[in-house]
C-alpha cells in the first residue's frame, strides 16, 4: 500500500468512525425522546431495548478502575516513586480482596462484615474528620469584617443554632425558623441553580445531537 493510499484509508476510516458514533448517539437519543412523546409500542420497544443494552454494556466499566489503578501503581513501584511501599501493599491487597469476595460472594456475611469494617469505616472516619476542619475554618472565616462577611456569618450561624436541641429550650418556635429558611430563600436559589443547569444540559444535549461537541469520544484519535 502506497503512502497516499494509506493516508486516504486512514482518513476514510476516521470519517466512518466519527459519523458512526454520531449516528449511534442520534438513534439512541431520539429513541429515548420518541418513547416519551409518541404513543408507539415499537418506538417504546426500541428505547427499552437500548436502555437494557446500555445497562449491560456499562457493567464492564466496573473493571476500568482496577486496570487504571494497577497500571499506575505498577509503574510507580517499578520506578520507586513516592509512597511506592504503600502502593505495593495496595497491589497485594486488591487481588486478595477480590478472591475473598468472589469465593464468599458479595451477599455473604463475611464479605458484608469485611466491607463494613474496612471501606465504610474508613470513609465515615474521613468524612467525619471534616467537622474538625469545618470548626477551625469557621472560627477563622465567619468573622464580621464587612457587611458581606457579616451576612454570611449570621446566616451560617443561625442555621447551625436553629438545628440544635438546646435552642429549642430557649425559643420553642426556632425549629419553624430553620425549615422556613431552608424551604424559602435557600430553596429559591437552589431552584435557580437547577433551572440554569437544566437549560445548560438541554443546550449541551442539542449540541451533542447536532455533532457540534467534537472530540469527546476520541473517535478521531489513534489508528
Amino acid at each position: 500500500m502506497t503512502e497516499t493510499t494509506s493516508v486516504r484509508t486512514s482518513a476514510g476510516f476516521t470519517y466512518a468512525r466519527t459519523y458512526l458514533t454520531r449516528l449511534i448517539i442520534l438513534v439512541c437519543a431520539l429513541s429515548g425522546l420518541g418513547a416519551m412523546y409518541f404513543t408507539s409500542p415499537q418506538v417504546s420497544g426500541v428505547a427499552n431495548e437500548l436502555q437494557l443494552w446500555n445497562t449491560a454494556a456499562a457493567t464492564w466499566t466496573l473493571f476500568v478502575g482496577i486496570i487504571t489503578l494497577s497500571r499506575r501503581y505498577v509503574v510507580s513501584i517499578i520506578n520507586r516513586r513516592t509512597y511506592w511501599p504503600y502502593m505495593t501493599y495496595a497491589i497485594v491487597l486488591t487481588p486478595l480482596w477480590v478472591i475473598m469476595g468472589v469465593y464468599a460472594g458479595v451477599y455473604s456475611d463475611l464479605y458484608q462484615t469485611a466491607f463494613l469494617s474496612t471501606k465504610v469505616t474508613l470513609h465515615i472516619a474521613i468524612l467525619g474528620q471534616l467537622v474538625y476542619f469545618l470548626l477551625s475554618g469557621s472560627y477563622r472565616v465567619l468573622r464580621m469584617k464587612s457587611f458581606r462577611t457579616a451576612l454570611y456569618a449570621f446566616f451560617a450561624l443561625t442555621m447551625v443554632v436553629v438545628n440544635s436541641s438546646w435552642m429549642l429550650a430557649i425559643f420553642p418556635q426556632v425549629d419553624k425558623l430553620g425549615y422556613w429558611l431552608l424551604n424559602n430563600p435557600a430553596m429559591a436559589m437552589q431552584r435557580t441553580l437547577t433551572i440554569s443547569g437544566a437549560i445548560g444540559g438541554v443546550i449541551l444535549s442539542m449540541r451533542i445531537l447536532m455533532g457540534l461537541e467534537r472530540g469527546s469520544l476520541r473517535a478521531t484519535e489513534g489508528a
Partner: protein, 279 residues
C-alpha cells in the same frame, strides 16, 4: 480591650475531640424539634394498605448514605410492622451492601425474630449500572431488566417478584441516597409514583425544589435530624438520636468558637485603632 490571641487549629480540634468522646461515653437523649414534612411522610406510609409493594431504590456512596439510614431503618421497621413488602433495587455499586445493611439493622428478617421472610416479603436485587437509565428501565418493565436476584435465583422463582412488573405495582419509592433530584422526574413526574427521600443535610435544599414541584407526592427529611424525627415517630431511637446528641454539644462549641473569633477580630481592630491614634 486586651488583644485576644488567635487560637491554633489544634486546640480547636482537641475541644471537638473531647465533645465527641463525651457524647460517645454518655447518652444524652437530647430532645429535638419535629418537622411537619416528616410527620406527613410517616402518615402517608401508615395509610398504605397491607401487602403493598414499596421499592428501596438508588444507591451511591455508603458513607454518605449512612446519614439517610437513620430514617430508612426506622421506615423499614414501620413497613414490616404494617405488612408492606419491599423490593431493594440498587443502582450504585455500594448500594447492595447498604441495602442489606438497612435490612439487617432493622432486624425485620425472621432470623432475627422479625415478621419478614426473604422472597415473600422482601427481595434484594443485584446492582444495575446506568443510574437514571436503570431506573427508567426498571419502571418500564422489571422482568425485562432483571433476570435474577442478588443470590442468583431466577426472579420468576421469587414469589414477590411475580407481583412486581412495572411502576404500576409500586406504592411508594424510598430513596436513602443522593440522587432523588435526578430520579424524581422519572419516578414522580413521568409515572406518578410517590417518593420518600431521606435526604442528607447537604442535599435537603436540592430535593426541596422537587418537593415544591410535587407537594403531594414527595416528602423529604433533613439529614440526621430528620432521621431522628422518623425514629421517634416509629418508636425506635438509633443512629439519628446519637447524631442529635453529638450535634447538641457541637453546635454550642461552634457558636462559642465563632463568637471567640469575632471577639478576636474586634480586639485586633481596636488595638490597631489605638496605634493609629497614637501615631
Amino acid at each position: 480591650m486586651a488583644k485576644i490571641p488567635e487560637l491554633k487549629s489544634q486546640y480547636i480540634w482537641l475541644v471537638v475531640l473531647l465533645v465527641y468522646i463525651s457524647t460517645g461515653a454518655f447518652t444524652l437523649n437530647a430532645p429535638f424539634q419535629m418537622s411537619q414534612a416528616t410527620v406527613d411522610a410517616y402518615n402517608y406510609v401508615e395509610s398504605l394498605k397491607p401487602g403493598s409493594i414499596c421499592v428501596l431504590g438508588g444507591g451511591n456512596v455508603f458513607a454518605f448514605d449512612l446519614e439517610s439510614s437513620a430514617g430508612q431503618i426506622a421506615a423499614i421497621k414501620q413497613i414490616a410492622r404494617k405488612g408492606l413488602r419491599l423490593v431493594e433495587f440498587p443502582t450504585g455499586v455500594e448500594g447492595i451492601m447498604f441495602h442489606r445493611y438497612c435490612i439487617d439493622a432493622a432486624r425485620v428478617d425472621e432470623k432475627y425474630g422479625g415478621p419478614w421472610k426473604y422472597g415473600r416479603d422482601y427481595v434484594l436485587l443485584p446492582y444495575v449500572p446506568g443510574g437514571t437509565i436503570a431506573v427508567v428501565a426498571f419502571l418500564t418493565d422489571v422482568h425485562a431488566l432483571i433476570s435474577t436476584d442478588l443470590f442468583g435465583t431466577p426472579i420468576k422463582q421469587v414469589p414477590l417478584m411475580n407481583e412486581m412488573h412495572s411502576y404500576k405495582d409500586i406504592a411508594l419509592w424510598f430513596m436513602p441516597h443522593w440522587a432523588a433530584e435526578t430520579y424524581s422526574p422519572y419516578i414522580i413526574g413521568e409515572r406518578g409514583v410517590p417518593l420518600l427521600f431521606f435526604a442528607q443535610a447537604s442535599n435537603y435544599v436540592t430535593a426541596a425544589v422537587y418537593m415544591n414541584i410535587y407537594p403531594d407526592k414527595m416528602w423529604v427529611t433533613n439529614g440526621f435530624l430528620g432521621g431522628a424525627q422518623y425514629e421517634k415517630l416509629v418508636g425506635s431511637p438509633g443512629l439519628g438520636q446519637s447524631a442529635v446528641d453529638g450535634y447538641t454539644i457541637l453546635s454550642g462549641a461552634f457558636l462559642g468558637f465563632v463568637l471567640l473569633g469575632n471577639m478576636t477580630l474586634l480586639s485586633d481592630v481596636r488595638r490597631k485603632e489605638k496605634v493609629e491614634v497614637k501615631q
